[in-house]
Symmetry: C2
Subunit: 273 residues, 2 copies
Amino acid sequence: MKVGFVQMDCRFGEVEKNLEKAIGLISRKKADLWVLPELFNTGYQFVSKREVADLAEAIPGGPTTQRLLAVAKERRTSIVVGLVERSGKALYNASVLVGPRGLIGVYRKIHLFYEEKKWFTPGNLPFEVYPVGYKSEKGGTLRARIGMMICFDWIFPESMRTLALLGADIVCHPANLVLPYCPDAMVTRSLENHVFTITANRIGVESRGKESLRYIGRSEVVGPGGEILCRASDKKEETSVISIDPKLARNKRLNRFNDLLKDRRSLFYLGRG
Amino acid sequence: MKVGFVQMDCRFGEVEKNLEKAIGLISRKKADLWVLPELFNTGYQFVSKREVADLAEAIPGGPTTQRLLAVAKERRTSIVVGLVERSGKALYNASVLVGPRGLIGVYRKIHLFYEEKKWFTPGNLPFEVYPVGYKSEKGGTLRARIGMMICFDWIFPESMRTLALLGADIVCHPANLVLPYCPDAMVTRSLENHVFTITANRIGVESRGKESLRYIGRSEVVGPGGEILCRASDKKEETSVISIDPKLARNKRLNRFNDLLKDRRSLFYLGRG
């Protein structure tokens, strides 16, 4: 299965321009699954709820999801992006997974970071895992199990643990990272759950309101053994596509005595449900 | 509070020699809390259950705990070590926390690694947090909250999360690490829980039975922001003592909007007891 990320800068509020740039980047390489950054089409640094509402879109009816559905169909690929979702009166920091046959899934960010708490409603849907098809080397169609989480969700180990317990092979992780910790922490996340992770981050600087944010790039694909399969620079727009075997994530055995999920002793764990 | 680790090699089965070496290393520096490796007095690589039984000791009645209780009293320090505990017919890969006033706590390894499953009964006690006194700079006595976990427990994020939810300021982590992942992963563990961690690992090679194990050293103290405060070499016996303020671990706020424990949304987390 060929999987890739788009690491890009984006201009605040210029939805069409950002979307077309992303599609241009995707179109240069062939992949079965693409991951793009959080809020890739709007930019991140809102200064009022009104701005958020103005840039929010319905899923799947809004123009961004519709355009991506067309691209996914045309290029026979699946795409994960982050965007602002409007649902009734609520505004979510959401991600959408679209494939050649249509909408596959929506995730609403469960752990909001910093001023996002002023703009967004916290996610109200459970973590979920979705099937995404890809051609095997022998020509048949196989299915990878895809989970989504967004940016700050990474710092709560429960996010990826929940996706792993649901059977995720690959966790798609749109991000707008400004702190330095996540790229290395994703190695631990992949390792402790034995899953692939694809983090697609922004680059560039956004200066709106009182603050200026610099996004750290370093998008990456990490393998289930904690191997950094590819990692982007911290400043350049770039795409990366690599071949992985999602099935490798399904065998949770570390050795003949240990299995990362079966060895869990949940009787002794605090802090669930 | 002055905290330190002892990184040492040990000779299989030579309990008295290993114990006296450890005490010698501790005696060179002053600290309020010392952490020593897993199974520091017996060695790790058992080849029969009989061997384990022969080297097991009661806690606190056995000679190792008794000797450490005397050292803790004499040197006004607290000490965490890993050892084999005999309790009735059961044998545990355990750790003990002793202080100047006596036995403070016992932990029995909950997640057994590799052949340990052949030798040990899995831990049957909950994770716990214990108070350990230290002198403040103004001369009063303060209490740090100490949690224990042993080696492989690190790979299950639930271990340290449980200790953090119980209020641990410092997680003491006796280890016999042979794989390369843990030292960097402990940065993530400290960061995601905003606690101090002290990993005390072995060095050296043990060749018994069919396998030869090389212990990776790299003992370390990591701060609640994921800072590596000190890290040992991968080959040398060494001790390290540094000053920390355990109270720093109690404020879980990342910024004015986010708190690492209060922001948890456990309704959406799978995998509890």
